[in-house]
Symmetry: C2
Subunit: 338 residues, 2 copies
């Protein structure tokens, strides 16, 4: 299998991207090849300092770069020789190409995926689904968290089914507990969208819908999949991130201003803090999967460094190995067993 | 001034409510009286064990109780002799009654306020506005966080103006920085509601609108007021709460399982953790103000204990002293100075 990696996306490209790719190749058996997309001259120069299995790394030369300042749809239509457009076209047309990974503009990756890739039958729009940590060892799928600002109940129903398939594959769960993100636990709560979605999810006995999830339930460990429209999911995701950041900065401030006592306390608790930071820094463990397409697209954080790129490559290889795409397609075909 | 307190709302009523009221009366000068709403026989019996300035505590006997299981509007219409209905009617009709505080059903308090109280001219619907901590000493106003699941741009505009007035009064700010909660920082981001609201806020030069705020900006300290529809604001608020809870529980778990080293570290860092917990536990410092009404309504957390009730009484007295309601009314009258 070929895993395509956008070498010119994200704050730390191309240096960190290349480092991540080289490490992934060196640490893996012959399971996959990597296809790097970007300016060949620059890439070859940067690669020259590394040892790596040369035969497993291909370069496709692309000269244009899409930035966060570009309008996503215009960029996809206008910059035909960019790493994102060429990468997604290759993903669409080549049988061997199984996944595309980018740390570039989320809007452009989404627009490109919608315009250039085929969707799974029964899916109106792809949805972005990160895995968030609920404890050191457990995670929850949040779907959608930014691909679709305006949604209809049937779209949220599709997100629920895709999230179910993803949780089964990525978290090895038999019967994922699915919740609908809402402003209250009771059935009648919410806006028109969530009230109507609730009725549809309740009737679909092919999934384990356990009811509404409030914001504070997202990281509680009581749900395996949280379904939301992309606007609300995005706000929830970033609210969680912002709170974690604020708490880390408060702890740091307290330690810095707590004298020698606090500093010794910090040294003794360092392993606890490191573990907490590792748990909270979920984006270092790979990326958010864009579900609903006939090929795998993984969006990693714009600030991704070498370790994240390597993790995303292994994530992609594992999801391809476990047939994620067919599992999503199967669950869309499944007849409601009432 | 009379401050009305619902003695039969919340998980810890009436015992913790009474304790909070007694403490507030004992710790304050002759600034306010408290009117307790609830079953007089029970209240008198519970009060008999306390010393307090008897002349400053009145009881209005109400026999019915609205619970979280009641449908809010039906409860307001049906339970005419409940502490919430009698309290809000008294607030509406009595000149001396300046504020109503309840830890009871949020839905019922909101429905009661909408049905029984007069609104400030120019306000379509009241909005719920808590103060969230951005650091040990600073806070941000999140408005609306639950009163209105479906909103129009002009309602969000009103929330922005009310939030502005509230931040000026409650946080003593000259020119509060106002942000619109959205799924991206750029002007064009968002759903139909936020895109249209952005245009209105940008044109209103009577407020200091500084642009879109993402979820991670809520607690960043870069904004003083965050404007949202009640559905999104509720999800954001509870996502922040849930993340803080998850982090505290991870730290606790790490300490419990980190052996003697971690336990000593914890003892040394205890003041830092206590301060962090105090900062995060914003609801112990009072309640969320329901803005847009001609009288003050404060909703405190259902789990409120004595300390929170006392804090809410002082919060109410201070906001009345500082003429919050007139300030909100003035800002609604203010002509747009383009």
């Amino acid at each position: 299998m070929n895993i395509l990696v956008d070498a010119f996306g994200g704050d730390n490209s191309p240096i960190e991207i290349i480092s991540g790719v080289v490490n992934a190749l060196n640490e893996s058996k012959n399971l996959f090849n990597v296809v790097l997309l970007g300016d060949e001259i620059i890439l070859k120069q940067l690669l020259s300092k590394y040892h790596y299995p040369v035969g497993r790394l291909l370069i496709i030369d692309t000269k244009e770069v899409i930035t966060n300042d570009d309008h996503p749809v215009d960029a996809i239509r206008g910059k035909k020789n960019s790493s994102i457009v060429v990468g997604l076209k290759n993903l669409n047309s080549e049988k061997e190409a199984m996944a595309f990974i980018s740390a570039g503009s989320t809007g452009a990756v989404l627009a490109g995926a919608v315009l250039l890739l085929k969707r799974i039958e029964g899916i109106n729009r792809p949805a972005l689904a990160p895995l968030l940590p609920t404890s050191e060892t457990e995670s929850v799928v949040l779907i959608d968290c930014g691909a679709n600002s305006e949604c209809k109940p049937e779209m949220l129903h599709q997100f629920a089914k895709m999230g179910d398939a993803y949780a089964k594959v990525a978290l090895s769960l038999v019967n994922p507990r699915i919740g609908l993100l809402n402003n209250g636990a009771e059935e009648k709560k919410g806006n028109e969208l969530t009230q109507n979605t609730y009725k549809i999810l309740r009737e679909d006995h092919s999934i384990n819908f356990i009811g509404n999830a409030e914001g504070r339930d997202i990281l509680s460990g009581n749900f395996d999949v949280i379904v939301a429209d992309g606007f609300t999911g995005n706000i929830a995701l970033k609210s969680c991130e912002g709170t974690a950041l604020m708490m880390f900065s408060q702890i740091k401030y307290g330690i810095q201003n707590g004298g020698i006592r606090a500093k010794i306390g910090y040294l003794l608790l360092k392993p606890v803090f490191r573990k907490l930071k590792d748990t909270a820094d979920y984006s270092s463990k790979g990326g958010a999967v864009l579900l609903g397409l006939q090929k795998l697209v993984i969006k990693v954080h714009g600030s991704a460094k070498s370790q994240t790129i390597k993790a995303a490559i292994f994530q992609a290889a594992s999801l391809v190995e476990k047939n994620l795409i067919s599992k999503v397609a199967e669950c869309m075909e499944r007849i409601d067993k009432k």
